[in-house]
């Protein structure tokens, strides 16, 4: 009896899902995702785009480039900062000259990361440390108690 019930339930679920998958199999869909990069357009003073040019990306307080990207025909390039601070972007122009963009990235501008996720504040660290000490003290007192 129980086995028959299980079989009925399987068929019921299959009937429920199959038409829905038919409906959506040839449709189009879109999904809004959080942007994973910051996009910049580089141009000369004249407004002419700095096209097909190398851009060196320097993280905050780093002397060496983390990555190198290239501008497209419209002078557009993108990069993905992974921490807040001043990011330096060096765009090489014609004749060996170049420009440097110093971009301040704060927590809100960090792409692809909900604010505060995965980060522990200073206050949180203190509270966590206090809890550990408290726990160890309690454990030590428990085992060192004199038995009545």
């Amino acid at each position: 009896m129980r086995r028959i019930g299980k079989q009925c339930m399987r068929w019921f679920l299959l009937i429920l899902v199959f038409p829905a998958s038919l409906v959506y199999s040839h449709g189009t869909a879109y999904e809004i995702i959080r942007p994973d990069s910051i996009t910049i357009r580089a141009s000369f003073d004249t407004g002419e785009p700095i096209a097909h040019t190398d851009v060196l990306v320097f993280p905050p307080d780093q002397t060496e480039a983390q990555s190198e990207v290239t501008t497209d025909a419209n002078g557009i390039f993108a990069f993905s900062p992974d921490r807040p601070g001043t990011w330096s972007l060096q765009v090489r122009g014609r004749g060996g000259h170049g420009m440097r963009i110093n971009l301040d990235i704060n927590q809100e501008l960090l792409p692809g990361e909900p604010s505060g996720s995965g980060r522990v504040s200073y206050l949180q660290k203190i509270v966590m440390a206090a809890c550990v000490v408290w726990g160890l003290t309690g454990t030590a007192l428990f085992f060192s108690r004199k038995k009545a």
Partner: protein, 259 residues
């Protein structure tokens, strides 16, 4: 345990903490200021008119040199006047050390300001830039000495442009900043297209060659004032100052030009 002993046990770690904290807050970092004429000056080059230029000396007189970061409240000033030979050393010499500022706070000294001023003493008194060397083209070999008395201030706010970031000082370490001078802005560059700004905005050695006397060129800026290309020449001087490959703003120029 006696009260004295407890007090001793408390005092020792506190004193140690204060001592270590005091040591760590001491500024042992330094910022080195360098000047660079790049390979054009050290190795020579072919100018836009086909002259092979080889420099013996390129003296630049500098003063009021400072690296700073307004946002972070940082400033390091190199006190004094300096006569720097950008052609010093061999073909692959590192940029010339102008001076060091010790005990600077850690941080990003991205911005740079410096003045090109006249020498107040010595052989080239009254000149701000002096170039000596030889220009060769076909069968001609012309020694030259070109004295410039233009004074100007260069401000490079955004910072060094190159393969690395300069001016980031970390605790107990030494970093450098660089004042870069692009002399191809005066002579042009045979390797660049003739319609490139480096050639369309420069005068080339021909500009000086026309003032030759007795098989050599010995000319000063004041003698060039009547030349049709004088304005182009002065504007080229105003574009000499760089921070790596990044342009610097020029101000306080001694020559007045009408736009």
């Amino acid at each position: 345990m006696s009260f004295t002993r407890i007090r001793f046990l408390c005092i020792v770690p506190v004193a140690a903490f204060i001592f270590l904290y005091g040591c760590s807050s001491e500024k042992n970092s330094a910022l080195v200021f360098r000047a660079n004429g790049e390979d054009f000056v050290r190795q020579g080059f072919i100018d836009k008119q086909g002259w092979a230029i080889a420099f013996d000396t390129v003296l630049v007189h500098l003063s009021d040199i400072a690296a700073y970061n307004k946002k972070e409240g940082l400033r390091a000033e190199l006190q004094g006047n300096f006569a720097v030979d950008l052609a010093a050393g061999d073909d692959n010499a590192i940029p010339v050390k102008v001076g060091t500022v010790d005990n600077v706070a850690a941080g990003n000294y991205q911005s740079l300001k410096f003045k090109v001023t006249k020498a107040t003493a010595g052989e080239y008194r009254g000149s701000s830039i002096v170039m000596t060397g030889k220009a060769i083209k076909d069968s001609l070999s012309i020694p030259f000495i070109i004295k410039i008395n233009e004074t100007m201030t260069f401000t490079c706010t955004e910072g060094y442009v190159g393969d690395e970031i300069k001016g980031i000082v970390k605790e107990d370490s030494v970093a450098d900043v660089e004042m870069t001078f692009h002399f191809d802005h005066i002579f042009g560059d045979n390797d660049a297209p003739m319609d490139n700004h480096i050639n369309s905005s420069s005068v080339g050695f021909d500009f000086f060659y026309q003032y030759r006397d007795g098989g050599k060129v010995a000319v000063s800026q004041s003698e060039l004032k009547q030349d049709d290309e004088y304005e182009t020449f002065v504007r080229a001087l105003w574009s000499l100052g760089h921070c790596g490959e990044g342009h610097c703003e020029v101000s306080e120029q001694s020559t007045e030009l009408h736009d």
